[in-house]
């Protein structure tokens, strides 16, 4: 899909309503020493329409990330020759800001903090589902556009103003609770992409654990009741087994 940034006098409007497909093709560098995992990731990424690159150790990964342009990096934390965190911090030192997702078997909060401090942009604990990984790297690639510049999100006839906190659909104002507003804001920021439940819990609530029950679903259905119920065309879609997506097409 194409992102059309309509530049008006004072603000930018990110228009999500334009066309069908989820996301543009990305070049993804996989730095992973387990060949089977790497092959699986490469295949699945290709099927999702992306272009994968692979490096089997830290040094090779660093060299590849420095010599070629990628949209996003998938870095295993434990790698031969040079560990994942050191690859990322070296890249950051050299001024390369390609967003990086760290894959790790270590999932405690302390480990996550260490990973993010080294310059990683997101952290995913093994074992993970591919859909979770895909959702996260697509969100990461989107993040490279400076988000401060966008003050209004628009998906079809649904509009959200980040400054006035006003939400309208077909020009009709919708009243949202503060948390519902942030939920919608996050979904619209990633319009067209799939957003998982854990991503929502992390970014909207700032908690990094598994909430046992699917508390997020109930919040989504409340939000859905407010933004979709009285309108013909549903915008907030459930992606079975993965999460949610806000988009204009009915698929």
């Amino acid at each position: 899909m194409t992102i059309q940034a309509q530049i008006s006098a004072n603000h930018l409007v990110q228009d999500m309503s334009a066309t069908g497909l989820h996301s543009e093709s990305m070049r993804v560098l996989i730095i992973e020493d387990d060949s089977e995992t790497a092959a699986f990731l490469a295949k699945a990424l290709k099927e999702a329409g992306h272009v994968p690159d692979h490096a089997a150790d830290g040094e090779a990964g660093l060299a590849l990330a420095e010599s070629q342009v990628h949209d996003v990096l998938i870095v295993d934390r434990m790698l031969p020759k040079r560990d994942g965190l050191s690859v990322i911090s070296q890249l950051r030192e050299n001024g390369i800001q390609t967003p990086a997702l760290i894959l790790s078997a270590l999932g405690e909060v302390d480990d996550r903090v260490k990973g993010l401090r080294a310059g990683g942009d997101d952290y995913l604990t093994k074992p993970y589902s591919f859909s979770e990984l895909l959702a996260r790297i697509e969100a990461l690639a989107r993040r490279t556009s400076p988000e401060e510049a966008v003050t209004k999100y628009k998906v079809d006839d649904l509009e959200l103003d980040r400054l006035t906190h006003k939400v309208t659909r077909s020009g009709q104002q919708i009243l949202l609770q503060p948390r519902e507003f942030r939920l919608l804001e996050y979904l619209m920021k990633h319009a067209g992409q799939v957003v998982t439940r854990t991503m929502l819990l992390e970014h909207v609530w700032d908690y990094h654990f598994d909430p046992q029950t699917n508390v997020i679903d109930v919040h989504i259905s409340r939000l859905r009741a407010k933004i979709d119920k009285e309108f013909d065309k549903p915008l907030l879609h459930t992606v079975r087994g993965v999460g949610y997506s806000i988009r204009a097409d009915g698929a």
Binding site: V109, D110, S129, Y207, P211, T213, V215
Partner: protein
């Protein structure tokens, strides 16, 4: 011991030496004074005046000794009876032995004297009996050696006794260490209750051993639980995959089977993650973050997160917070503990008509207490201890989803921070209280014994 001994010997030796010096000086002075007096008499009245004075002085009892002789050494006057050759031939200060009558006949006594030769062959001997001084010296000397010997004896004996006791106690520690190395974790170092350094060391060692035993028991429990509660779903997963493989179904049934397999795997991963988190909490390797936590904001967060879920089950979820309740700790961990408590209350704390859940945070002075109360069926008294253990699910809840790990994670968080979890009766319903110290003491081991 040697140091103490030589210091004592030095001190006594110094006193002895100083006393000797003092006594010797006194003696000198006395003899000199006598001599000066007699010399004046001699100058004034010659030899006759001298003999008269000596005779007079000789009559006064005391330790002074006088003798005046002619040129052949014959005694003219004085209280000394005889003069030895050495004394006769010497001039100046001389030490000699003389005889003095006493009850037991004449006795040999030591004296110190000055011998002067006077014109005309006369000799004047002025001296002083120093036998007493000699005796005194001997007494002091023997006291010194006996004292030193006694001290050495007592010191060595005492030292031996003390070190024998100490070594016995250290041996006990070694023996305990060996017991534990042989695999028996119940061994403990004996504590005699004296509160001395070694006793304190023993108490701390025992506390450490308690902790290790507890950790080992935890590990044992985890592996038992993994065997029991993870093998069952793994087996189910395997059976399902196997059945799908044999069934020769259409694409849709394969798809269904695969989806169920993934679901089952996800469930397993969740259980596994929860177990790992608990194990890491109990090992004290997690939760090192120290966030300043506003308890009110924290429970507001979770009430807000769970409120729609509760409402779906026709339950009300409310928060009640005293003003300004703060604590330090890992926000994620304490949040997860709180989320588990609320989750439990929503799952099991309702009745057909719904229910009321109240979440509170309060400050008791030493601790911050979070409570989650429901109006559901509660937990019978006999099961209250048990529900905090891993994988324990009460009969009534077995049919509902859940891993049985939620409350054990809460208990593990409480232990990590040196707090506690209480299972109480809400009359009616259940009241779970998570009590955490203000300044969470990481590792859960209380440092004040």
């Amino acid at each position: 011991m040697a140091l103490f001994g030589s210091a004592a010997a030095g001190a006594i030796g110094y006193i002895y030496w100083q006393t000797n010096v003092l006594l010797a000086r006194q003696l000198e002075q006395t003899i000199e004074a006598e001599t000066r007096g007699l010399a004046e008499q001699y100058r004034a009245g010659g030899i006759s005046n001298l003999t008269k004075t000596v005779s007079n002085r000789s009559l006064t009892p005391g330790n002074s000794l006088y003798l005046v002789t002619d040129n052949e050494g014959r005694r003219i006057t004085g209280n000394l009876t005889s003069v030895s050759k050495i004394l006769w031939n010497s001039v100046g200060r001389v030490e000699f032995v003389y005889k003095r009558p006493s009850q037991n006949g004449p006795e040999d006594r030591l004296a110190l004297a000055s011998v002067f030769r006077l014109p005309g062959g006369f000799r004047l001997i002025v001296g002083r009996d120093i036998e007493d001084r000699r005796v005194f010296q001997r007494v002091v000397r023997s006291a010194f050696f006996i004292g030193l010997g006694f001290m050495a004896l007592v010191g060595l004996g005492g030292g031996w006794l003390v070190s024998r006791g100490l070594l016995a106690r250290i041996d006990a520690v070694t023996a305990t260490g060996r017991t534990i190395m042989e695999g028996d974790l119940t061994g403990r170092v004996p504590v005699n209750g004296s509160g001395d350094e070694l006793d304190r060391l023993s108490i701390n060692l025992n506390a450490m051993l308690d902790r290790i035993e507890q950790l080992m028991a935890g590990m044992q429990e985890v592996s038992d639980n993994i065997a029991h509660d993870l093998k069952t779903p793994l087996n189910r997963l395997r059976n399902r995959a196997e059945a799908a493989l044999h069934e020769h179904g259409d694409a849709k049934s394969y798809r269904d089977a695969l989806e169920r397999t993934i679901e089952e795997a996800d469930g397993l991963i969740k259980t596994f993650n929860a177990l790992l988190s608990i194990a890491r909490l109990e090992a004290g390797t997690a939760g090192k973050a120290k966030n300043e936590i506003d308890a009110g904001a924290l429970i507001q967060d979770f009430v807000e997160l769970y409120e729609p879920t509760a409402e779906d089950k026709n339950m009300s979820l409310t928060a009640k917070v005293a003003d300004d309740v703060h604590l330090k700790g890992d926000r994620q961990l304490i949040g997860q503990a709180l989320a588990n408590l609320i989750d439990n209350a929503i799952k099991y704390g309702g009745s057909k008509k719904g229910g009321k859940i109240e979440v509170t945070a309060g400050d008791t002075g030493q601790t911050v207490e979070f409570s989650v109360s429901d109006t559901g069926p509660g937990i019978p008294e006999k099961d209250r201890e048990r529900v905090l253990k891993r994988f324990v699910r009460l009969e009534e809840s077995r049919s509902r989803p859940g891993s049985g790990l939620g409350l054990s994670l809460v208990a593990a968080v409480a232990r990590l921070y040196g707090g506690s979890v209480r299972v109480e009766d809400n009359k009616p319903g259940l009241r779970m209280v998570l009590s955490l110290p203000h300044k969470t003491n990481h590792n859960g081991v209380s440092r004040t014994q």
